[in-house]
Amino acid sequence: MSQARLVLDDGTVFQGRSWGATGKTFGEAVFSTGMTGYQETITDPSYHRQVVVMTSPQIGNTGFNSEDYESDRIWVSGLVARNPSPVSSNWRSTETLDDALVREGIVAIKEVDTRALTLLLRERGAMRVGIFSGAANEASEDELLEFVRASPEMIGANLCDEVSTRNRYSVAADSGLRISILDLGIKRNTPRLFAEKGIASEIFPAWSTIDEVLSVNPDGVFLSNGPGDPSTAHHAVRLAQEVIRREIPLLGICFGHQVIGQALGLDTYKLRYGHHGINQPVQDLRTRKVEITAHNHGFAVSAPVGDAFETAFGFARATHVCLNDGVVEGLELVQHPVLSVQYHPEAAAGPHDAAHLFTNFKQLLLRARGQN
């Protein structure tokens, strides 16, 4: 097995061995602390242009299966692991992780001291990174570093359009409720959970206009998760403002939450190394209840915690915070049917503690329909 190198934009080099496809790849290095769910993670469009460092050393044990994709492809630009399993053992497994990476051309590196890398990212913050294997690994360290430094930064990256569906599609459900979804990088489990609650989804490309989105006469609008710097999402922010103005129930998750935050006039900022894991304690400030939630965000919304605050749409308040570091994880408008959460109630991967959010949103939809 051939050698491979991982080079960070601060010049740090990690040795490892080639894994997945051979070649070179670039992205923002982030670490993910989930011990299960690598298939869901690497097929999550929010990881577009990111190189994910798996802190869990044994990766790939259960292989890849046909059911646990969160989109139709692997989105991470690269993968880093300590000890990937060459075989898979699970009754649902259809191929090994290694085969899936090769098939999709994902350059990866293994046998890396991932803990040392993680501590470095924790101390110095998320960085650009390159993985080089095969012929690409023959260049000198300086050359590799130059490649990495020439690769694009995550700050200022507008990536939603790259991952969004090209064409509108629907996911059916039993009851009569229907929402429009702006696909900024949605995971499959989200419309699946809406459908489970009896809410049909109409999924639109990220660039759809307000008229297109409302053309199906939805009971509500949903802004999905997605990759990139939320401060570039001008179109989505304007669309959200219009939805709020029209008193249509609105829900945002992750990137969608950051869009809603900006629609309310709040700023977003880049976290030093982000939240990427499935063990994060989020407290609902209204009930004090703590839920263990899945997170995947490198940016966050800057909002006051405590009392409600004034926005262009009346009072808003922070509803959730992450107990680890106090980052705002949820918002609501007091006089409008608008909710948003930074974490992932749809999980996949991760705990289902927050799945009730879909029920809460359904109630908003029903209430709004009753009023209209």
Binding site: G37, T55, N61, D68, V87, A116, L323, N324, G350
Partner: protein, 1093 residues
């Protein structure tokens, strides 16, 4: 929710003696609980009969009751202390059962004591199998098809409905006692019948067999605000069918996708809510069908368990500590995660390493016992290891076991196809050796599939072993041991020893080459969060990576080597001493560094020492820890004398490698262990030893035996717990013994000693600083000589020794300590026979009795020993107050007598035919734990020790008596007292005649050696059928002795008290009398010691 304001005092119930299924993990959890409660300003009242625990150290509670953990005694403590609340979820099944009984009998209500940690209703729901099954169904889960049985006929009917094989699970027993698997009616009638007896409610559950399914455990915590976290998932490498305590387990779960894991998590959370554990923890076990993914919920423990201790050590999340805080009313989010110091406990730990736990068994101590692993736990200890990959962690865990043959053998194998096939077929039966068989088969070329079919072990684990096999072959074929080859092998967990074996060179040479190539392990940190937040606790494990996390320091460090996995002969007592050393040296300004691999212990709590290395206690691993710490700062020394034989066995090699051993030097240790050298010490001091000789073979042994005369005590040198020791009466047995013994310790000769019949045995623990002796205590054995000191009861102060004899003992102790060159602790066994004092053996190290003596006298001997090892003198320790200013263990005035009694695991072991193993005591130690009885008189103290070991003495009922001739006169008075108490008397022929002549009526019983006839049962039969409540049997000689052992074995198996000396008989009379008059009192250790000092 903040702390409850209605709780100012809490009674904590411990778990009592170490037994199989309930070991020192409950000292770990109880100690944490006591600490938490004290920090919260709560008055802590503790009851625990086990003196070898840290939790019963007087500083861990405001009032420590070393009393039997029975409803009667706990009630007395409650009556005296009037606690606001009772915390019973940290003391295992013992504590929970007592709490349930107190709740049901109304004691808790009567004294207005709130049960905290778990409510009665939740405990019942969790433990009552029928109700639990309903709960599982109500939350959408599935249980195995099962039927509750209350009689043998129920069993037959149920098995007909379920179909064989069926699993038998008795209700309300711990460690799966009485459980088993039946493949047909003969199995079922045997195991099921015994199960009905073991269950306090005579209830047994028969259920569909899930043998071969994947097995998982989840550890959960829930607070009063209904916040729930899953602390850890654990996967069993051994599939269903083997008790989880006996399984090799791995954390986190390795072979589940997120979808499947979340299904287990969702079910667990729904179950903990439905059961109603509202301020504490629980663990829930699952079986998963490997072909379909069908999930079956097996059971839950609504309390802190053995698995919780493992999960705590595996994740860094201190379950017991958090459980104690939850019980006080805190919510999870209000509790800070100690390790990060900034994030809350309301999160789920993420691991960036792999943890493997392997059980340690003691079948060699119980000849004839069925070694098949079943749903009844049989292991006596465990080792845990941490690595950055499963193969690394697995190999580290196996070498942590310190058992010959435990590590994988990677030698060249030439096996025929039929031999491989046979090996594969062996793996169908789970035993201690199964994983090694699997490995050998793989190494010999067996396919993963064939082994998966046979053993049911998940192919993923088999594949990992195959990867190791491939690595071993690469290593074997490599032209030279270059950096790449060696690094790769080390990353897979191969030890220097294993590599040497594969390359046919010495371990030392491998190490030398490795270090020359700069290949050293780094030390990573267990931080609960996979590196997401900085860790403030240095809890480390070694692995072969690029970056190390050992922080530099300025304080001089002392490395304390622990005792490794618990085994018979080396248990919690040694951990107690290591923990004390950590406390004492931390206080004295050193940076304490603990090295150990036993997850059950207090020593491996990251709160104990300043730094913790969770590493195997092999020469290689210890040298690497030493190396890493010597790069971090100055090292004052390494302590090897407190952890038992494990660190002692490393002393010489460590010293040779340049490691500074502090305290008694390795050469002094050698002096005491080497018979010839030690004889010179004794001779110089003018002390007597039983006549003895050394033998390298059978002829030499016979020559020695004929010279000194039978009976002789024979044993291999360098052993602990009397391993391989026997009393031999004639030539044939001696020759047989030599055949076995040379295998035990091939490089050391066999010792042959004259065995002193009819002697009083004495144990002494003392401290020596090079000039002055401090006598810790003198203990007199209650059992006759010839029974291992670890298995015999003893009293402190001694009951029958006079001042003159004690003075001789002290003088002899000092001479030996000086002659050997002790700096720290020494334990000496003496025998008094015919007015002569003989020295049986001397051990220049902490002994098993150190915690008992420390507790009985209130003097922390191990702390003092650690200080002496680092150069402090006894006069300095006296003026500091660590030792008494004046006097010693022989002169301390005290009102109390302390009695230690051993606890034996007979009821855990059966022969393949279902019969109990022969419950014989002898010079080889077999007990797993001990209890202490404490009171003013020997009688009451003794009675308490019996109550603590076997349950309370009977107030009335049936008594069996059979005594040796010399005791016949002395028995009359006590037996007539028992008649007055209303006891019905059963006796063997000779004893019956003497009783009749003295006007005492009794029923005739036949001896075991006579066998039963049609009319009269043997005593064994009577005991086994439950007729007898108390056994009195004083043995002598080799014939009746055998009968006595049978009787004792049957009594222990049945859990009834068995009295073996007249002293104890008189004591029992006093005890029963006091019990009947309600005069049994309880008093805290602190009160006893206040009077004493």
């Amino acid at each position: 929710m903040p702390k409850r304001e209605d709780i100012g005092s809490v009674l904590v119930i411990g778990s009592g003696p170490i037994v199989i299924g309930q070991a020192c993990e409950f000292d770990y959890s109880g100690t944490q609980a006591c600490r938490v409660l004290a920090q919260e300003g709560i008055r802590v009242i503790l009851i625990n009969s086990n003196p070898a625990t840290i939790m019963t150290d007087p500083e861990f509670a405001d009032a420590t009751y070393i009393e039997p953990i029975t409803p009667e005694f706990v009630t007395m403590v409650i009556e005296r202390e009037r606690p606001d609340a009772l915390l019973a979820t940290l003391g295992g099944q013992t504590a929970l059962n007592v709490a349930m009984s107190l709740a049901e009998s109304g004691v808790l209500d009567r004294f207005n004591v709130k049960l905290i940690g778990a409510n009665i209703e939740a405990i019942k729901k969790g433990e009552d199998r029928e109700r639990f099954k309903e709960i599982v169904e109500s939350v959408g889960g599935e249980s195995a098809v099962s039927i509750v049985c209350h009689s043998v006929s129920d069993l037959a009917e149920a098995a007909g409905r379920i179909g064989y094989p069926v699993v038998i699970r008795p209700s309300f027993t711990m460690g799966g006692l009485g459980s088993g698997i039946a493949y047909d009616w003969s199995d079922l009638s045997l195991i099921g019948g015994a199960g009905l007896q073991h269950s306090p409610t005579s209830e047994v559950l028969l259920e569909e067999s899930l043998i071969g399914w994947k097995e998982y455990e989840l550890e959960l915590m829930r607070d009063a605000e209904d916040n729930v976290v899953v602390v850890c998932s654990i996967e069993n490498v051994d599939p269903m069918g083997v008790h989880t305590g006996d399984s090799i387990t791995v954390a986190p779960a390795m072979t589940l996708t997120d979808v499947e894991y979340q299904r287990l998590r969702d079910l667990s959370i729904a179950i903990i809510r439905a059961v109603g554990v509202d301020a504490g923890g629980c663990n829930i076990q699952f079986a998963v069908n490997p072909l379909t993914g069908r999930v079956i919920v097996i059971e839950m423990n609504p309390r802190v368990s053995r698995s919780s201790a493992l999960a705590s050590k595996a994740t860094g999340f201190p379950i017991a500590k958090i459980a104690a805080k939850l019980a006080l009313g805190y919510s999870l989010y209000e509790i800070v995660n100690d390790i990060t110091g900034i994030t809350p406990a309301s999160f789920e730990p993420s691991l960036d390493y792999v943890v493997v736990k392997v059980p340690r068994f003691a079948f060699e101590k119980f000849p004839g016992a069925d070694t098949t692993l079943t749903t009844t736990m049989k292991s006596v200890g465990e080792a845990m290891s941490i690595g950055r990959s499963f193969p690394e962690a697995l190999q580290k865990a196996l070498r942590s076991l310190e058992r010959k043959g435990a590590s994988f053998d990677w030698g060249d194998l030439s096996m025929s196809e039929s031999e491989v096939r046979e090996l594969i077929s062996h793996t169908a039966i789970p035993t201690e050796d199964r994983l090694n068989q699997v490995q050998l088969a793989i190494h010999a070329g067996a396919s993963i599939d064939s082994l998966h079919q046979a053993s049911g072990i998940d192919p993923w684990f088999l594949q990992q072993i195959a990867a190791l096999s491939l690595e071993a072959k690469t290593l074997s074929m490599a032209s030279k041991l270059d950096k790449a080859t060696l690094t790769s092998a080390k990353r897979m967990g191969f030890s220097d020893f294993q590599i040497g074996q594969i390359r046919n060179i010495t371990e030392t040479l491998v190490r030398q080459q490795r270090q020359e190539l700069g290949i050293r392990p780094v030390f990573k940190t267990v931080d609960t969060c996979a590196g997401e937040f900085a860790a403030s606790t240095p809890y480390h494990y070694g692995t072969y990576e690029t970056h190390s996390e050992v922080a530099s320091r300025t304080k001089p460090a002392v490395l304390i080597l622990g005792s490794g996995p618990n085994r018979i002969g080396q248990g919690v007592e040694f951990d107690h001493s290591c923990v004390h050393a950590a406390f004492a040296l931390k206080e004295a300004g050193y940076e304490t560094v603990m090295v150990n691999c036993n997850p059950e212990t207090v020593s491996t709590d990251y709160d104990t020492a300043d730094r913790l290395y969770f590493e195997p206690l092999t020469l290689e691993d210890v040298l690497e820890v030493f190396h890493a710490e010597s790069l971090a700062g100055p090292i004052a020394g390494v302590i090897v004398q407190l952890g038992g034989q494990t660190p002692l066995g490393l002393a010489k090699a460590l010293e040779a490698a340049g490691v500074p051993i502090v305290g008694t030097s390795p050469s002094a240790i050698d002096l005491a262990e080497n018979r010839e050298e030690f004889s010179k010490v004794l001779h110089k001091a003018g002390l007597l030893a039983p006549a003895h000789g050394l033998a390298m073979n059978a002829d030499e042994a016979l020559e020695v035996a004929h010279r000194i005369g039978y009976p002789v005590l024979v044993r291999p040198s360098y052993v602990l717990g009397g391993r391989g020791m026997e009393i031999v009466y004639e030539d044939d047995s001696l020759v047989t013994f030599i055949g076995k013994a040379t295998e035990i310790s091939p490089n050391h000769p066999v010792l042959v000693d004259r065995f002193l019949d009819d002697a009083i045995e004495i144990d002494v623990d003392a401290l020596f600083d090079g000039t002055e002796l401090y006598l810790g205590g003198v203990m007199e054995h209650i059992e006759e000589a010839g029974i291992h000191s670890g298995d015999s009861a003893c009293a402190l102060p001694p009951m029958t020794l006079g001042k003159g004899e004690i003075a001789r003992v002290i003088s002899a102790t000092e001479k030996i300590a000086r002659g050997v060159g002790v700096r720290g602790l020494i334990n000496i066994q003496f025998a008094v026979a015919g007015d002569l004092l003989y020295v049986l053996e001397a051990n220049p190290r902490a002994s098993r009795t150190v915690p008992f003596v420390s507790k009985a006298t209130g003097v922390p001997l191990a702390k003092a020993a650690a200080r002496i090892a680092l150069g402090t003198t006894i006069p300095e320790l006296r003026s500091e107050g660590l030792l008494p200013r004046e006097g010693d263990g022989s002169t301390l005035t005290s009102e109390h007598i302390a009695v230690k009694e051993a606890v034996l695991p007979w009821n855990r072991f059966r022969r393949p035919d279902g019969e109990n193993v022969d419950a014989t005591l002898g010079p080889e130690m077999k007990s797993t734990g001990e209890v202490m009885g404490l009171d003013r008189s020997f009688g009451v103290a003794y009675a308490k020790s019996q109550a603590a070991a076997y349950g309370s003495l009977p107030l009335t009922g049936s008594l069996f008596v059979s005594v040796a001739n010399r005791d016949k006169r002395a028995m009359i008075l006590p037996i007539s007292k028992f008649v007055d108490f209303g006891f019905k008397i059963y006796a063997t022929e000779g004893t019956r005649e003497v009783l009749a002549r003295n006007g005492i009526e009794s029923h005739l019983v036949r001896k075991e050696s006579q066998g039963a006839d049609s009319e009269i049962s043997t005593i064994g039969q009577l005991i086994s059928s439950g007729v007898i409540d108390l056994v009195i049997n004083t043995p002598v000689g080799s014939g009746p002795r055998k009968d006595g052992w049978r009787i004792r074995g049957a009594s222990v198996a049945k859990g009834i008290p068995c009295i073996t000396t007249i002293a104890a008989l008189n004591a029992a009379v006093q005890g029963v009398e006091a019990l009947r008059r309600g005069e049994f009192g309880v008093r805290s250790l602190q009160e006893w010691l206040e009077v004493a000092n």
